[in-house]
Assembly symmetry: C3
């Protein structure tokens, strides 16, 4: 999440009840997860296993639950519960404000863009020129829609991330992490009917220019889809994944979280992608493999009875 | 379906044109399918194969198309077409009343709950405290939503069951069975965008407290989901299934009807569950098996060419 | 796409800047793709590989980018870019007209039909008698809904086809092909919640009488579904496919494009159908095969360790 303008570190510390260790004179530009942070950002960590990774990330300010060594140009913000501090910051700088009508007064809609009946355009949404938002589509707060984007009926842009902090004291239960991020849809993207694209938890979910998606597609939080990709109907992509340019995912493909699919890769229908795939190749199966290897495997399967008969003399 | 107050058996008999065999002085508390009935309920049966099961169920009153023996504290309601009698009873006591506006006057919405633009709240819906209903979500008649429940945009709660009586006289065709049941969503449940949760045919579809669902999830009629479950995007669960507490279903998992998944089971992405699964274990594949067994199977597949070469001397 | 009345060939030629070769006195009844054309129709082709197929199709008028031989009763319309000519014709005779309110004044709604709050009924939509359109469903322009049809909440009928012309000059990118076709839903069809049925590109997408679909089902452009079919939740069918009468597709089945599934076939849950299937049989797997063959294959898999041990003496 970017702040609208840089926030003094002392203001952040007061808000979350933190003790600053190191230079307290700076100002934070935003707050993000470890894999999305940049210089000037806050990051948060509560487990010793990830301390060094956070302290050595691009982030300048580390919200942490234990004092530890850190580079001289950075600062620590010591709190008991870093995840709670994150929630407090998001709630404060991006407060939940219920919509009162179909199109918020703070939304901006570019020249020649059309919003059809029943569509909902949230607070601070920006829509470019020549876009078409079909009936009953929903674009929630802070999302950005480029020029000539087409969003078919019933699609939801900017639903909350499916992102929970698992608590195991007594029973297992799940605490919702607030979604401070946005969805950014670049120019010339077309999205089918009844799709869902979740906002980033702390960064942005991005759909690259020229990409086309069919109906009932799901894109998770903080996922970045490249330019001129093609996703067929009922594809699902989990959170924080990177899909490079010109990737084709055929119908009902599922893609797991935090992986990368390389440029120009093509994944055949119903495949499941549990790990990163190199670009420029074709894949099939669940788990997905090189399509040629997988097709041979299907042929091998058919030879099993022959093999059995040779070895055992009968079936 | 529960009646609002107990209905005298003679009133039911008059409505459906039944002849009462046995004690006619009682009153019925509701009507349900065989696997959901309780004492005081009506049940209905038209096939000799199921006569004894229905007569010996917890139900007190049996709508049936043939006279047969039954326990002394029960009664039969004799009709030619028991399924038609069910339809008549549901139509009469829970008549279809088209909504005239977005929020029915008979709905109750608790303190601090927010209903955003375009959302539709049906007749007799009850929403607890502190709930958030996002834009264009639909909650149909008689459904119950607990405290602090979050329902993202476009989700439909209480759509009719996908439940038909197959007729094979001349052609095959399907007759819709009315959905007299409800959806009951307990406290602290969160449901993603563009999900669908069907109402029960004669009982309730239940989502247990603390359960979280991602986008585009489908839950069939009369299915009961336990507490603190986690369902990732595009999961589908068929009708009348039981999912116990703390079950995790990853993306695009499909679960068949009338089975049970035990407490704490975890089913990996894209798996298909055709039969009941014991709790506390991890599963993978379509059909789903113990994940370790299934993973070994994938390794065995890779050894097939080696085996072939050993046996036949070449590939 | 049917024209409302036959259009003189000279008017078409003027509109798209074509030179007529052959008889210029005729009138065109519609424009369609090669596999959907009839006598009196326009067809369009830009690749020599398909020239003869188009010229010998049922179409009478061929929009083409090179002069070639043709039967005496037909005519050519010579243009540089036949696909652009198609777009120009669709834009002209079926112009995009944004909806201004939930129910267009040009829609007709039959006696006893109910349209609930938030539903959107587009221009020139025709709804028969006794239909029920649930809240927030969307029926876009020119679609036809039969008698007694039920459409549950959030379903979108007549979204644009997922159909693009791939351009590979410099980068890969995709140009949207306009959808001039309709969705035609015959009598007694019932469609679940949050489904999507795309309109035809140049022909019609058809759902046959008596067919029932569960929630979150996707049907692609120009697909024709027969009578009394049953599709369970999350089924996806790609474009221009033919599904004959009484076919059953269980949950999460995926069906590829331009194939045929024969009458009465049944496809088990999560199967993937990449090629045509004969009627009257049961299928399973991805890719789908005869269910009995596939089940045997699963048994053979389990025998692999035994085979290995016999051949190699150990595992």
């Amino acid at each position: 999440m970017r702040f609208e303008k840089a926030v003094p570190l002392t203001e952040i510390a007061r808000l979350i009840g933190a003790r600053i260790v190191g230079n307290s004179g700076g100002a934070a530009t935003g707050i993000n997860e470890i894999h999305k942070v940049g210089e000037g950002d806050l990051v948060f960590v509560d487990h010793p296993k990830y301390y060094q990774k956070c302290i050595n990330s691009a982030a300048t300010y580390i919200i942490i639950n234990q004092e530890t060594t850190f580079p001289p140009h950075k600062s620590l913000l010591l709190v008991d519960e870093p995840f709670e501090a994150y929630q407090t910051i998001v709630s404060h700088y991006r407060p939940f404000t219920p919509l009162q009508k179909n199109i918020s007064d703070t939304a901006t809609i570019g020249e020649g863009s059309i919003v059809m009946p029943g569509a909902v355009i949230g607070h601070h949404v920006q829509i470019g020129k020549g876009a078409r938002i079909f009936p009953n589509a929903v674009i929630m707060d802070h999302c950005v829609i480029g020029d000539n984007v087409i969003i078919q009926s019933g699609t939801v842009i900017g639903s909350d991330a499916f992102y929970y902090n698992k608590k195991t004291n007594r029973d297992i239960h799940y605490k919702k992490m607030l979604s401070g991020g946005r969805v950014v849809i670049e120019n010339d993207v077309e999205i089918g009917a009844n799709c869902t694209i979740d906002r980033g938890v702390s960064g942005d979910t991005v759909i690259g220019a020229g990409t086309k998606m069919d109906n009932l597609v799901h894109i998770g939080h903080d996922t970045v889809v490249g330019k001129n990709c093609l996703f067929a109907a009922q594809v699902g992509v989990a959170g924080a994944t990177t899909i490079e340019d010109e990737v084709i995912l055929w119908g009902q493909v599922g893609v797991s979280k935090t992986l990368t699919i390389g440029k120009g890769a093509e994944v055949y229908a119903q495949s499941g992608v549990p790990a990163s795939l190199a670009g420029g190749k074709k894949y099939f199966g669940s788990p997905a493999e090189d399509a040629l290897v997988k097709k041979k495997e299907l042929v091998w399967m058919k030879r099993l009875p022959v093999l059995w008969e040779k070895v055992f003399g009968n079936k």
